[in-house]
Each structure stands twice: as C-alpha cells, then as structure tokens.
Symmetry: C2
Subunit: 301 residues, 2 copies
Amino acid sequence: MSEVMTSDLLSVAMAAAAEQLESVIDSLIAVPPGPEARVFEAMRYGTLNGGKRLRPFLVLSGARLFDVPDALALRVGAALEMIHSYSLIHDDLPAMDDDDLRRGNPSCHIEFDDATAILAGDGLLTLAFEVLADPATHPDAEIRCTLATSFARAAGAAGMVGGQMIDLEAEKLEATPELITRLENMKTGALISLSCESGAILGDAGADARAILRDFGYDLGLAFQVTDDLLDVEGDEANLGKKVGKDAAAGKATFVSLLGVEGARREARMLVDRAIARLEGFGKDADAFRQMGYFVLERRN
Amino acid sequence: MSEVMTSDLLSVAMAAAAEQLESVIDSLIAVPPGPEARVFEAMRYGTLNGGKRLRPFLVLSGARLFDVPDALALRVGAALEMIHSYSLIHDDLPAMDDDDLRRGNPSCHIEFDDATAILAGDGLLTLAFEVLADPATHPDAEIRCTLATSFARAAGAAGMVGGQMIDLEAEKLEATPELITRLENMKTGALISLSCESGAILGDAGADARAILRDFGYDLGLAFQVTDDLLDVEGDEANLGKKVGKDAAAGKATFVSLLGVEGARREARMLVDRAIARLEGFGKDADAFRQMGYFVLERRN
C-alpha cells in the first residue's frame, strides 16, 4: 500500500517538474523570423514532445538536497534534456538506428527531413552549453564551468557519443555482460549519473557527496537500461509510443538476451537496491531519489 | 614588392601557427583502447587534415594584441577548429551537401561511414566546449564562460547552424545580395568574427575593442566567402583540394552569380578595405590582421 502511495506521489511530482521544465525550454527556444526558423521549429519539435523528463527531475531532486533554488536546477535540467533530445534525434536518423517513431510521434527527420534533423541536433547540443555558461544558471562562474566540463565529458566521445559508437560496433564484437554494461554506462549511464550529481555541483557540495550521487546515478541508469530491455520484450507498444521486439528482431545483444527475463529482473532489482543503499548518509531528504529507484523497477514506458 | 614580402612572412607565420595548433589538437584527442576508438579516429581524421588554420591564426593574432600567452590562444584556436571541422563533417554528409572530397582527401563519411561521421561531428562539437570550460584555457572562470557563450551563439542555430539551414532553404527563396550576405554572415562570418574577437575576450579587453574586432571579423569573413565563390568559378581543383564549378552546376546563388566576377572582386576589395580601416586605433600591433585582409584577396585555395 505504501509503495502505491509513493508511486502516486512521485508521478504527481514528476508531472509538476515536467511542466515547469517544458516552460523553461519553451522560453529558451524562441523561433525567430527568417528562413532559419525551420531549424528552431525542429529543435522545439525534438524537445517539447512530452518526454518523461527523468533527467531534469533527478537534477531538481539533487538540487533540493543542497537548498539550491529550483530555478537554477530547471535550467540545468533543460540543458540535460536538450542533450538527451539531440542524441535521440541523431540516433533516429536513417544512417544510425533508422527509427521512424519517437514517443508515439514521427521522428524529427520524418516530420522535417534528414538535413534539418542533423542541424536541429547540432543546434540543441550547442544551446545546452550556452545555457550552462550563462550567468542565469548560477552566479558563480567556476560552478558554471564545472557544469560545462562535466556535461561535455558525460555527453562526448568518452561518454554518450562513444557509447553510441560501441553500440554501432557491437554486432562485430563478442556480446558479454561486461561489454553491454560498458556500452550502456557510456551511452545512457553517464548522462543519468550527471543528472543525479548536478544538484551537488550547483550546491557546491564536497567531492564525497558528488561521488555518492554519481555512483547512485550509474546504478540507477543501468537499472533503467535493463528495464528498457525488458520493456522491449514485454512492453506494450501503445504505452511505450515506440515499436517493441526491435532488439530481438535486430539480433541485438541486450541484458535480456544475455541474462534471460528473470535474470534481467534480478539484475535490475540488485542495481536499485545497491543504488538506494548508497544514499544512507542523506536521510529522508533523499527520498525522491529512492522513489526513482522503485519507479525504474515499476515503469511501463 | 612590399606586398609580396608581407605575403611571404604571413605564410611563414601561418604555417608555424598551424603546426603548433595541430600539436595541441593531437594532444586533446587521444585514441582510447576499446571499440569507441573508431569515433576518436574519425575526430582526428576530421581535424588533423592540413587545413589552413585560418581561425586559430586569427585567435593568436588577436591574443598577441592584448599580451595573452600563445598557449591559451592555441587552446581557443583548437576549440574553434574543432567546431569548424565538425561543421564540415556534417555538411559533407549525403543528407546535406553530399561532398565526397574535403581538402583533397575522402570526406569523413567516405573514409569511415555516415553514422561514424555524425558521431565524430557530435564528439568534436562537445569537445570544443570541454576545452573552453577547462581551467587550462584561462585562469578566470568568468572569461571561460564568456568564451563558451560567445562560441555557442556563433556556432548555434542563431549563427552557423542557422546559416546552414538558410543555405538548404535558399533554393526556395528569392536570391538577393541581402539574403546571401545574411546567410554567409551566419554560416561562416559568425565564427570568423569570433576568431578575431577571441583574443580580446582572453585579454579581458573592453567592449569597444571587442566590437571593433568583431566587426573587422565579419568584413573579413564575408570577403573570404566572396573569394570562395570566385575560386569556385576560377580556381584550380588541384590547388583547392575540392571540385570547382559546383555552385553553378547546382544552380546556387552566390556573390558571383549575383554580382558577376568583376563585381564580386570589387565587393571583396571593398570589404577588406573597410575591415582594415576599422583597425586604425590599434597601430602596428594589428599588422597580422591587416595582412590577413590581403591574404584573403590573394588566396588561391
């Protein structure tokens, strides 16, 4: 009973954060007059599309641990969501994963065209750093620079971009749990981990707190990926807003193909347990993070 | 006679700067072990390919005006060159300008593949901001943030990315000198202008000096584009390392198609004269910038 309550309260909190976040992104991407308007429209299409806003919610939850105003956390959350959205736009391209559907709608390159989608992704990635470096994000420029370098490492070739490269190379490699873990830690874990750590950066917390939240985020991110693989096997297309069974059809190695459905479920549960155990020192203030762990295990989309 | 001397000295100075720059980029893009190596190799391929390094040379020239150490300017120059290179990698893709040849070599997507080229571009754009925000680029975090926001504005949807969007839309629009000027100011001018201004940012020069060098850079950048259009008509393929006659074959509006060859030559000369006149207050220290004006008028590739 108490978990149902928790889960309901979490949904309300996430929906409220998502609404605030969309309003921030809306104000950060204004469409200008002139023929360049098209790329701005594609940038809006790729970000203002009703995602779960998991990453911004994690930033907000972390920021509240360190008494950082929501307004700052929402800008960092917007930057994270821009980078997440750009990666989806580029990953969906025919030259990459060739996905026509994203969150139940035509992918950006279907709604616009391939060239516009490439440019929209480039524009969003660039805008994320403009937002981070702007004084409105934090009065202390050292903190803004720490955010920018942390974002660049998580999103770049040593992080998300490198993870997508491994994903494309993976069919030539021997699939092992170690390879898939490394791939997913880079491709999605680095950005989710940074989402959990960002509040501590904004709050100028010590290296210890940052490391704990970063590790929490890697566990949470990997659990999220394991349940993603499970949803591709067991999920409902209408709920998910994307096709299911894609991994198996593509002969792609996933946590489910390597560990089986039950093994993958155990792995997700273990990761969430470990993640939550890391939060011991934070007391009740970190309940939003703990609830996110349960959310990941129970999610249906 | 004195112009030939100038031009020779400039070539020597540019070659020396290019060598230093390549060594900085080389150290900033180390190939790791593991299957993500491929994207790092593509990033190196797209940047360490013997470009003219015009932009880093402009940063160095500006930095010397304000007694900024070369080591800092070279890092900013490397970031500029990463952004310039990423834009070429993405522009060359089949979905965009579909160019197989770049600087006399196979384009990145030909040497690797489309997906790797998209990721290499993404990785370079991200790395540029990592370099800018790193304390090694300048001890003052406010200045690093100013660099990052200036770069993002010049490179993003309100600058270079928006210019490429207009370029793709241009065939649907009425070609006028105003449209082409706006297109080129966004697509290439903003980054060249920023190259000229960056030294003043690093040197914490006042708003007046920054504005003068920014305006100088826009004139120089537009002159560069006009001579680019002229080289597409009159240039030598072997010298250029790319095909000529592409604009006319594509029915593309250029300064040459709008103004004629003689008109375009006059326009380039006018722009360089105006650019150099802007430097009046800087005295002899700004000779490198003045020489760049003549270089643009005389260039053969």
